[in-house]
C-alpha cells in the first residue's frame, strides 16, 4: 500500500453486502474534489470486482485494491 497518498475520505463499508459497497463508493465520489482519493474498506469479496468495474466504466481510477486479512481495501481517485 502506498502510504504517501493523501486520503480525502475514509469509507467504512464493512458488513455491507454487494453491490452496496460499489453503490456507496459511487454515491460518495462526488464528496471529494477532482483528483481526491477515497479509501474504502469492505468485507464482501464481491467488491473486488465490483468497485474496479464501476471505476472503469465511470472513468474513475482505482489506485490500489487488495486484501488485508479479512478486509478488502481500495484507494479510488476521482478523475472528473
Amino acid at each position: 500500500m502506498s502510504e504517501d497518498i493523501k486520503v480525502d475520505l475514509e469509507l467504512d463499508l464493512k458488513g455491507l453486502l454487494c453491490p452496496m459497497p460499489m453503490v456507496k463508493v459511487s454515491q460518495k465520489i462526488g464528496d471529494v474534489p477532482v483528483g481526491g482519493v477515497i479509501r474504502a474498506v469492505a468485507t464482501d469479496p464481491g467488491s473486488m470486482a465490483d468497485i474496479p468495474a464501476w471505476a472503469k466504466s465511470t472513468g474513475n481510477e482505482v489506485l490500489s485494491a487488495g486484501k488485508e486479512g479479512d478486509e478488502y481495501v481500495f484507494l479510488v481517485k476521482r478523475a472528473k
Binding site: L17, C18, Q27, G46, A49, D50, K56, S57
Partner: protein, 421 residues
C-alpha cells in the same frame, strides 16, 4: 422546447408503442381507485406518486402527438409537450416507482402503470435524464463482461474465499464451489455478495446437486435504469453461460427483479426460447425439503417469524407458497402479514431505490404501511427472498430501532439444516 428534442422523445414513444401501452393510454378513466394501492401515495399524499398521475404524464405527450383530438384540442386532455417541466415531473414520479404493480392489481382495467413507466424511463434516457446512479451500476455490470479477462481471476479469487467458508460450514473439506462446469444440471446465479453464494452452496452440497456457480451476478441495474438493451445484455451474461455449459436449469438467487427478468422478460427481449428451465432458489429448496434431499429441523427457530412477499417474486413472479412452506418447516411460530400474497404491501425498496442516495428519506417514509403490517404480527424475524426488500426492511428496522432480524430464507434453512457428516 426545440422541435428536434420533441421529435426525439416522441420518436421513443412511437418506437415503444405496443398494443398494451396504447390501450392503457386510451382507456384510463382517471378514477383514481389506484390511490389506495400505492404505498408511496398513501405514505405521502403527494399527487406525484399517484399511479394514475404518473401515467398521465406520458398520456399528455401521447394525446398531443399521437391522437388527432389531442392535437386539435389539447386543452381537453391537458395534452402537452415533453418539455423541461414535464420531464422534471416525470423523473420524480418514474424513478420513484418500485414497479410493485399493486396499482395494476386493483385497477378495474388492470392498467400496468409500471409498464407505462418503463416507457417513461426510455424517454428520460433519450432526454439524457436517466438516473445517473442506476446507469452507472448498469455500465459497471457490463464492464465486467466486456472486459472479462481483466476480471476473471479477481472473481475466481473471491469464490475461493467463499469456498473456504463452505468447507467450514458443511464440515466437509471436499465441499466446493464449482465454476464453469460443463454438464452441470444447475447454473446458480447469485448476487455479487458472498451472502447470496455461501448458503446456497451449502444447500446444494448437502442435496448432492450437480451445480455450478455463474461468474456473473443476477442483479440487473439496466432494468431499473430503464434501458431494455442494457438490461438484456446484463441478463445475457449468465444466459449465454447457461447455454454454453448446457445446464438443465438456471436457478436465480433470492432476488426479486432478477427472477422476473430471467423468467418473464429475457425470452421476449432476446426473441429466443431458453433451452433450459428458470426457477427461483426457493422453489428448488422447497423441493429438496419435500423430497428429503435436505433435512431441516422443525422448531430450529422458536421466535416468531414473518414472511414478506417481494412484489417481483409474489404478485409478479407467482411464488407464494414455497417460501411459506420452507419457513413453516423450520419455525415453530410463523405469522403471516395481513394482507399478504398478491395483495401484500410493497416494502418500498424495489425499483433500484436502495441505490439512490437522494431517495433514502422518501424511501423509508414510503415503508409506513409495511412497517404497520410487520409490527402487527409481533414477529422478531422477517424472512424475505429479495435483496432490495431486505435492505429496505433493515433500513426501517434501524431507523426505528425495532430490534428485528431481517434474513434471506436461505439463511434460515442453513441454520436449521441437519448437516450429514
Amino acid at each position: 422546447m426545440e422541435p428536434q428534442q420533441v421529435d426525439t422523445l416522441t420518436g421513443v414513444l412511437d418506437k415503444k408503442m405496443t398494443r398494451q401501452l396504447k390501450q392503457y393510454l386510451d382507456i384510463c378513466a382517471r378514477c383514481a381507485i389506484c390511490k389506495d394501492a400505492c404505498h408511496q401515495y398513501v405514505a405521502t399524499g403527494d399527487l406525484t406518486y399517484l399511479p394514475a398521475r404518473r401515467a398521465e404524464l406520458i398520456r399528455q405527450i401521447y394525446k398531443k402527438y399521437f391522437t388527432k383530438t389531442g392535437e386539435f384540442v389539447p386543452a381537453l386532455y391537458e395534452a402537452r409537450d415533453p418539455d423541461e417541466s414535464l420531464l422534471d415531473e416525470l423523473y420524480e414520479s418514474t424513478y420513484a416507482c418500485t414497479g410493485c404493480r399493486r396499482c395494476m392489481y386493483y385497477c378495474p382495467f388492470s392498467i400496468d402503470t409500471a409498464w407505462i413507466l418503463s416507457v417513461a424511463k426510455a424517454i428520460l434516457i433519450a432526454a439524457d435524464r436517466g438516473n445517473e446512479m442506476l446507469g452507472q451500476l448498469a455500465d459497471a455490470a457490463l464492464m465486467k463482461s466486456d472486459n472479462f479477462d481483466m476480471f476473471r481471476d479477481i472473481i475466481l479469487d473471491g469464490f475461493k474465499d467463499i469456498e473456504g467458508k463452505v468447507k467450514e460450514m458443511t464440515g466437509d473439506p471436499s465441499a466446493e464451489i464449482p465454476v464453469d462446469k460443463e454438464g452441470a444440471d444447475v447454473l446458480y446465479v447469485a448476487l455479487a455478495g458472498a451472502h447470496s453464494i455461501l448458503p446456497a452452496a451449502a444447500i446444494f452440497h448437502e442435496a448432492g446437486t450437480n451445480w455450478t456457480l455463474s461468474m456473473f451476478e443476477s442483479a440487473n441495474y439496466g432494468y431499473f435504469f430503464g434501458d431494455a438493451e442494457k438490461a438484456r445484455r446484463i441478463a445475457d451474461r449468465f444466459m449465454d453461460e447457461a447455454k454454453r455449459l448446457g445446464v438443465k436449469e438456471v436457478v436465480i438467487t433470492e432476488c426479486g427483479h432478477a427472477y422476473r427478468v430471467a423468467q418473464f422478460f429475457h425470452e421476449a427481449w432476446s426473441g429466443e426460447k431458453h433451452p433450459f428451465k428458470v426457477r427461483h432458489i426457493l422453489e428448488v429448496i422447497d423441493e429438496y425439503i419435500r423430497d428429503g434431499r435436505i433435512t431441516v429441523r422443525h422448531g430450529a427457530i422458536t421466535e416468531p417469524v414473518t414472511y414478506h412477499d417481494p412484489c417481483q417474486v409474489g404478485r409478479n413472479g407467482g411464488i407464494f407458497e414455497q417460501p411459506r412452506d420452507i419457513v413453516r418447516a423450520i419455525a415453530s411460530d410463523f405469522r403471516d402479514m395481513t394482507p399478504n400474497r398478491e395483495e401484500q404491501w410493497c416494502c418500498g425498496g424495489g425499483g433500484g431505490l436502495v441505490a439512490i442516495a437522494e431517495m433514502e428519506d422518501f424511501r423509508l417514509k414510503s415503508g409506513a404501511k409495511k412497517l404497520e403490517q410487520v409490527k402487527a404480527t409481533g414477529a422478531r424475524i422477517i424472512a424475505s427472498p429479495c435483496e432490495n426488500c431486505r435492505l429496505q426492511l433493515e433500513g426501517l428496522n434501524d431507523q426505528l430501532d425495532l430490534g428485528l432480524t431481517v434474513k434471506p430464507v436461505m439463511d434460515l434453512v442453513v441454520d436449521a439444516m441437519e448437516i450429514r457428516r
